[in-house]
Symmetry: C2
Subunit: 145 residues, 2 copies
């Protein structure tokens, strides 16, 4: 059995984050030692590594919760898991699209600015007026991870 600190080092995850995952029910309630410390087995480390890896790939905790409950039933068909991954890929693609649009606008405004006074600054000017942006670029909507 391992201490929470050991698990944290093994998975490169903060101690508080482990407790948080337990609190929201994505990790099971760890059994306690005599002195009330949480005790972990290798399976818990594996589960946490899974969570952290999925987080690195941008999966939200809700999706990870679903993926974990799927992987707890290894005989089920894997369509649901694949669908979650596809959803994640879609999101990544949408975010990349949006970020590329933002990047284009930012590059444009920076390139056009010849330096000088704020009153002549293209950056300030374009930010004041979306009409000066490329058409159909950056029409808002979420972005994130």
């Amino acid at each position: 059995m391992y201490t929470i600190g050991h698990v944290a080092r093994a998975t490169d995850c903060k101690v508080q984050t482990i407790r948080y995952y337990e609190q929201i029910g994505i990790l099971p309630q760890a059994p306690r030692s005599e002195g009330n410390r949480r005790l972990y087995a290798q399976a818990d480390i594996d589960r946490l590594a899974f969570i952290r890896h999925a987080r690195e790939l941008g999966f939200p905790l809700d999706s990870i919760r679903d993926l974990l409950s799927l992987s707890d039933n290894p005989d089920q068909p894997c369509d649901a898991a694949d669908a979650i991954a596809c959803r994640q890929l879609d999101q990544a693609n949408r975010r990349i699209e949006r970020l590329n649009a933002l990047k284009r606008e930012l590059e444009r405004m920076i390139k056009q600015c010849r330096g000088g006074k704020i009153s002549d600054c293209r950056v300030i000017e374009v930010l004041s007026d979306h009409g000066q942006c490329l058409k159909d670029d950056h029409q808002m909507a979420e972005a994130s991870p």
Copy 2:
């Protein structure tokens, strides 16, 4: 003078968001009517449009605060504004890089999965083991907007 609802419609911004911006000091305290309603002038609408547009381009409110105080001093040199925009562009580029790495991994795991049972699912398998990812891809770090 305009009501908060009018300003909200004019800038496609929720009423609460306007009050929030006032609260954090990025919009000035609006003068009030006899009945305690906030009253806005055209300059406030312009300032809010600037804020919303900068938000759409991914600038955090702290940067926007700086940009606004720069644009209030039109005779200053514009280096500082350009630097903020460059910083924003850098961030966008880093996020795009990272998202492309995630996208590659997601595509790989989805493509490799031939369907079937969870126990054979490549998605679950790869999520369980970062060793099966491409080297030097998705080495964590922040992402967001």
